[in-house]
C-alpha cells in the first residue's frame, strides 16, 4: 500500500503558514501581471482568490476570445494528483466515464457521484502518464477521494497552490504558441496533452478549454509560473493577445453550452436541502455514464433511477424570443404552470440569439417541448418591465466552431 494520507505538517511548517490571514483573498502567481493590467478594478472571489471579473472591458474581452487570443488565469481551479499502480482503477471507480480508454497524454471531461448517484462535481481528468492523473474541478473533494482510495495503491495530493494554470483561448492561439517556441503544438489534437520545455523545467499543455473555441490550457509549477505568462505575452502582440476576466469567459462558455458546478446545478456535498442534489441524467451528463465498464460510485443508484424513471429534472438549452437575457427566470408551460428555472442566460454575440441554460422538471424539456415560456423581469430605470417570452428547446452547443477541433488549426 502506498501512502494514502498526506503527512501532517511539522510545527515549523505550520507556523510559516500562519500569515495567510494578512491577505484574506489570495494572489495567484500571475497577480503582478493582472494588477498591472487591471483597469476596471472589478475583482471577484474565486475560491478564496482575488480574480478579475473584467480587466478593461467585459464586452471587448469577449471578442478577444472569439477573434484573437485571450489569456485567463485558471490557477484557483482545485487540482488533485492521483498517482500509483492503482491510479487507473481508482479513477475508474471514482468517475462516470471509462478511464481504461483514456490513454496517457489524453484528458477527458467527466463527473463523479456519491453513492446515491448524485453528482459531486464535474471536471477534467488528465492522464499525465500510465500511473499519474490530475483531476481539475471547482469544488473540494479530498476527504471523498481519500476515503474512496481505501484498498487502492494510490497516493492522492491536493496541489492547487503548487500547480498554476493559464487558459489561452481563441483563433490565433496555435499561431501564438508556435511563435512562442512551442514547436509542434499544431499537431496537438483536441484533448491531447504534451509537455514542452520551459526554463529549466516543463509546462504541460492540453488542447482544452471552457470556451468552445480553439484553445489550450497550460499547467506549470507555481515557482516558474510568472515567466510563462511573460513568454506568452512577449509573443502575443502580433496575435492580438489580451488578458480577460471571468465575465467574458462566462459568455463564451454559455455559448459552448458548458455548465458550472454550483451555478447550473448544486453539488451533492454542498446542498443544504437534500432535494437539490442531481443525478447525471438531470444535468445533461447522461452521456458520460458508461455502463459497459465495471462498478463505479453511484452506478447502482443511476441504473435504478433509469429503470424506475426517477430522473426528475432535465438540463436543456433554450432559445428565447427577443434580446433580453433571462437570468434566473422562471420557465412556464402554457404561460401558467411553473416547470423550471433558467440558470445562465445571455444575448449571444456570436450566435446573435437570446440563449439560456435551464433546468426543467420532466416531462417538460424531455417529452413536452411545446408551449414553453420564460418570464423576464427587466429592470429599467427603477421599473420592472415584465416580459413573457416564448422559449424553444434547442441542442447545445449554441455556438459550434469548426476551428475548435480542426488539426492542425489555422493561424486565425
Amino acid at each position: 500500500m502506498g501512502l494514502m494520507r498526506p503527512a501532517l505538517l511539522s510545527v515549523a511548517e505550520r507556523k510559516a503558514a500562519q500569515g495567510h490571514i494578512h491577505k484574506i483573498k489570495f494572489d495567484t502567481p500571475f497577480q503582478p501581471r493582472l494588477d498591472a493590467l487591471m483597469q476596471t478594478h472589478e475583482w471577484y472571489d474565486w475560491a478564496g482568490y482575488r480574480a478579475p471579473h473584467s480587466l478593461w472591458s467585459e464586452e471587448l474581452e469577449y471578442f478577444a476570445i472569439r477573434s484573437q487570443s485571450a489569456l485567463f488565469d485558471i490557477s484557483p481551479m482545485v487540482k488533485y494528483r492521483i498517482e500509483g499502480p492503482d491510479a487507473e482503477a481508482f479513477c475508474n471507480r471514482l468517475t462516470l466515464r471509462d478511464v481504461t480508454k483514456l490513454k496517457p497524454g489524453r484528458v477527458h471531461y467527466t463527473a463523479w457521484c456519491d453513492d446515491s448517484g448524485h453528482v459531486l462535481d464535474d471536471g477534467t481528468l488528465f492522464r499525465l502518464t500510465e500511473t499519474r492523473f490530475r483531476l481539475c474541478c471547482q469544488e473540494r473533494h479530498l476527504p471523498w477521494l481519500l476515503d474512496g482510495a481505501f484498498g487502492f495503491n494510490v497516493t492522492i495530493c491536493e496541489e492547487t497552490e503548487e500547480v498554476s494554470g493559464l487558459a489561452l483561448q481563441g483563433p490565433t492561439t496555435c499561431a501564438l504558441l508556435k511563435a512562442a517556441g512551442f514547436d509542434g503544438i499544431e499537431t496537438l489534437k483536441p484533448f491531447d496533452i504534451r509537455d514542452f520545455a520551459h526554463q529549466d523545467g516543463t509546462v504541460t499543455v492540453s488542447r482544452t478549454g471552457f470556451t468552445g473555441d480553439l484553445g489550450y490550457e497550460l499547467f506549470i509549477d507555481t515557482r516558474r509560473a510568472l515567466s510563462l505568462w511573460d513568454r506568452l505575452w512577449d509573443a502575443g502582440g502580433p496575435y492580438g493577445l489580451r488578458a480577460i476576466g471571468y465575465a467574458a469567459l462566462n459568455t463564451a462558455r454559455i455559448e459552448a453550452g458548458l455548465i458550472v458546478a454550483n451555478a447550473d446545478f448544486i453539488t451533492a456535498e454542498t446542498a443544504l436541502r437534500a432535494d437539490r442534489a442531481r443525478l447525471p441524467d438531470e444535468i445533461g451528463l447522461d452521456w458520460m455514464v458508461d455502463l459497459k465498464k465495471g462498478p463505479f460510485n453511484g452506478r447502482r443508484a443511476i441504473e435504478a433511477a433509469r429503470r424506475d424513471g426517477k430522473a426528475r429534472f432535465v438540463l436543456v438549452g433554450l432559445e428565447i424570443e427577443g434580446n433580453v437575457p433571462a437570468d434566473q427566470a422562471i420557465v412556464y408551460h402554457r404561460k401558467k404552470r411553473e416547470v423550471g428555472l433558467v440558470t445562465a442566460a445571455i444575448w449571444s454575440p456570436t450566435a446573435k440569439r437570446n440563449i439560456a441554460l435551464a433546468t426543467l422538471e420532466r416531462p417538460y424539456g424531455d417529452s413536452i417541448l411545446n408551449d414553453l415560456w420564460v418570464e423576464i423581469y427587466a429592470l429599467r430605470e427603477l421599473q420592472y418591465t415584465r416580459l413573457m417570452k416564448r422559449a424553444k428547446v434547442v441542442p447545445k452547443p449554441f455556438v459550434k466552431l469548426a476551428r475548435r477541433t480542426q488539426t492542425p488549426p489555422g493561424d486565425f
Binding site: 494520507r5 510545527v11 490571514i21 472571489d45 478564496g48 479530498l142 454542498t270 443544504l272 437534500a274
Partner: protein
C-alpha cells in the same frame, strides 16, 4: 389591594419576554425579582468603577430575532454585533484559528491537515442541515404524544412531516446526532486533535458530560442553531454586555405599562383549591394575582415555592429526577490594558473572538474526570472572550473586560460546600492557564469576579448553578422538558406556569421559552395573541 392579571417570578430574560407579551396582550403584569438588579443570567453589572461585566452569559446568538422585533428591542437600545472567529492555542506554540472568511478558515485548518480543512465543509453542511430541521421547533410548543387533543395531534403530524422531509441519510444522521458523543461524531470527519478539540467545545459548554459522553453531539447543535441577523450559527456581543438584552426588555415592558419590583424575593406561591392565587414574599408580603408564571427553574419552583401536598407524587419525583447538575464556573476580569498573546500574529482577528487553550479532546475529558471526582478541573477548558475589543461602551478606551467561562466546576466540592478558599483556588486554575500563554497577564488585572456554582446559584438562583436550568440531553428535551405530560408550560397547579429555560426549547439566552409560555397562557385565556409575529420561515 391590586389583583394582578399575572405575576411573573423572576426578571431573567425569559421572565421579561413572557411579561412583555402578556402586558402587550392587555394583561396587567407584575414582575418580582429577588435581586436588586434584573436580568438573571443575562446581566451586565459594574462591580468595580468604570468596568461593566457580562457577569454570566457573555455571547449572543440564540436570542430569537422574532422576539427582538415584536418587543421593539432595537428601539430600546439593543444591538448585537457579530464577532470574527476564534483560536485554540496549542502546546507547541502554534494555534488553530477559526475565521469568518470561508477560505481563510479552510486555510488555517489546512495548516494542520488538508483533509480536515476540506472535511469541514461536509461537517458544516451536516450540522447546518440538522439545525434547519430543529430551528422551526424552537418557537412551537412541543406536542404531548400521549394526548389526543386536535392541536397535539396537529403538532405531532407537523413533527412527523418534518421527519418525512428528511432523506434516509439525514434521518439516520438526526438519530445519531441526538445520541452520539461529540468526540465520536467528530472522529467521523476529522483526524487532527486540535481541530476536534475546537469543534467539541460547543458540545460540553454548560453540560455535566464529557466530550466522550453520549448525548453531547446534540448539545453542539443547540449552540449552532442561533443566528445573528440571519447568519445561522454566528455569535455576537450584545453592545453593553448581555445585560443590554434584559435592559431593553425591561424598558419595553415598562413602556407598555408593566411593573417590575426588585428586591422582592418570592418565598412561596399562594394556592387555593389547587389554583395559584398569588405569591408570598420573603418578608411576608402577599401579592394577589389571577395567575403566576415562574421564571425560576423547575426545581426551585416546585420544590421550594409550592408545598409538596399540592402536587402529585409522580410529578414531584420527576422534578427531583430532572438533571440540573452544575458544571461551570466563570471568572470575569477587568484589565487595565489589552493582554498579549505572542503566539498570535499582530492584530489577529482571533482576539475579537473566542480563545481557548485545550488542544485535545483527551484534555477535555480529563477535565471532566476531575468534575466526576467532585473537584474543579485542574486543567480546565476555558472559553474566553474580550467583548471590549468590539464594544466601546463597557470600559474606558484602552481598558478591557475579559470573560472566562470554565468547564468543569462541580456544584459541591468532594461532597461538601464550597469555601472562599476553594473559590480562590478555582480562580487560580483559570488565571494560571491564561498566564501561560499571555506574559504579564497577572499585572494587568484590576479586579476579578469569581463565580463558582455556589455564586451562580446564590445570586442568579440557578439550582446547583446549572446554566441552562436543566441539562440539554435528549431525555430532557421536547415533550420531556421538564416533565413528561407537563411540557406545555403548565403545571399540576391551575394558573401556575413555567416560562424559564427549564422548559422547551431549553437554556441559553434565547427567549423562546418565555414567548412560548405567553402563547399558552393567552390560549388558556382565549385571548388573541397580540404583537407575536409568526416564527420566521426556514426556507
Amino acid at each position: 389591594m391590586t389583583t394582578w392579571d399575572a405575576i411573573v417570578i423572576g426578571a431573567g430574560h425569559n421572565g421579561l419576554v413572557n411579561a412583555c407579551y402578556l402586558q402587550r396582550a392587555g394583561l396587567n403584569v407584575l414582575v418580582v425579582e429577588k435581586n436588586d438588579w434584573i436580568g438573571g443570567a443575562a446581566v451586565s453589572r459594574e462591580l468595580t468603577p468604570n468596568y461593566l461585566y457580562s457577569n454570566c452569559s457573555y455571547v449572543c446568538s440564540l436570542f430569537r430575532p422574532e422576539i427582538m422585533r415584536d418587543l421593539e428591542l432595537p428601539r430600546f437600545g439593543l444591538q448585537v454585533v457579530p464577532y470574527e472567529g476564534g483560536a485554540v492555542f496549542t502546546q507547541d506554540g502554534d494555534y488553530l484559528a477559526a475565521y469568518h472568511d470561508h477560505h481563510a478558515h479552510r486555510r488555517d485548518f489546512a495548516r494542520f491537515s488538508k483533509k480536515d480543512a476540506e472535511s469541514y465543509d461536509r461537517y458544516a453542511r451536516d450540522v447546518t442541515r440538522q439545525c434547519r430541521f430543529i430551528q422551526p421547533l424552537l418557537l412551537r410548543t412541543a406536542p404531548d404524544p400521549a394526548s389526543f387533543r386536535p392541536r397535539d395531534l396537529g403538532e405531532l403530524i407537523y413533527l412527523g412531516r418534518k421527519f418525512g422531509e428528511l432523506s434516509a441519510e439525514e434521518l439516520a444522521l438526526t438519530i445519531r446526532f441526538w445520541t452520539m458523543s461529540i468526540s465520536d461524531f467528530l472522529d467521523e470527519y476529522f483526524e487532527t486533535d486540535v481541530i476536534k478539540a475546537y469543534l467539541a467545545i460547543s458540545g460540553i459548554i454548560g453540560t455535566a458530560l464529557g466530550p466522550m459522553s453520549p448525548g453531547t453531539a446534540y448539545v453542539l447543535l443547540h449552540h449552532y442553531m442561533g443566528e445573528v441577523d440571519g447568519s445561522v450559527g454566528a455569535w455576537g456581543f450584545a453592545r453593553g454586555g448581555m445585560g443590554a438584552i434584559t435592559k431593553a426588555l425591561a424598558d419595553s415592558f415598562r413602556a407598555s405599562g408593566g411593573t417590575i419590583r426588585t428586591e422582592a424575593e418570592v418565598d412561596r406561591v399562594l394556592i387555593r383549591n389547587g389554583r395559584a392565587t398569588g405569591v408570598v414574599l420573603a418578608d411576608g408580603e402577599e401579592l394577589k394575582a389571577k395567575r403566576v408564571v415562574s421564571n425560576a427553574d423547575v426545581k426551585r419552583t416546585f420544590l421550594n415555592f409550592v408545598a409538596e401536598d399540592e402536587l402529585p407524587d409522580s410529578f414531584v419525583k420527576s422534578v427531583r429526577n430532572f438533571k440540573m447538575r452544575g458544571s461551570s464556573g466563570k471568572v470575569n476580569i477587568a484589565l487595565d490594558s489589552m493582554p498579549e498573546f505572542p503566539a498570535l500574529p499582530k492584530n489577529s482577528p482571533c482576539l475579537q473572538g473566542d480563545l481557548h487553550f485545550t488542544d485535545t479532546i483527551e484534555r477535555m475529558e480529563r477535565a471532566y474526570d476531575d468534575w466526576k471526582d467532585g473537584r474543579w478541573s485542574a486543567d480546565p477548558m476555558l472559553d474566553i472572550v474580550i467583548p471590549t475589543t468590539l464594544d466601546p461602551t463597557m470600559v474606558p478606551p484602552g481598558k478591557h473586560f475579559m470573560s472566562c467561562f470554565s468547564q468543569y466546576c462541580p456544584p459541591k466540592v468532594e461532597g461538601r460546600e464550597w469555601t472562599d478558599a476553594d473559590r480562590d483556588a478555582f480562580a487560580e486554575t483559570v488565571i494560571s492557564q491564561i498566564a501561560d500563554y499571555s506574559p504579564g497577564f497577572r499585572d494587568r488585572i484590576v479586579h476579578m469576579e469569581v463565580r463558582t456554582p455556589r455564586e451562580i446559584e446564590n445570586e442568579v438562583g440557578l439550582t446547583e448553578g446549572n446554566i441552562f436550568q436543566g441539562e440539554l440531553t435528549f431525555d430532557q428535551l421536547l415533550f420531556n422538558r421538564p416533565v413528561p405530560g407537563y411540557a406545555q408550560y403548565r403545571s399540576p397547579v391551575h394558573g401556575l406556569y413555567l416560562c424559564g429555560s427549564s422548559t422547551h426549547p431549553g437554556g441559553g439566552v434565547m427567549g423562546a421559552p418565555g414567548r412560548n409560555a405567553a402563547k399558552e397562557i393567552l390560549r388558556d385565556l382565549s385571548r388573541p395573541v397580540k404583537d407575536m409575529s409568526p416564527a420566521h420561515d426556514v426556507i
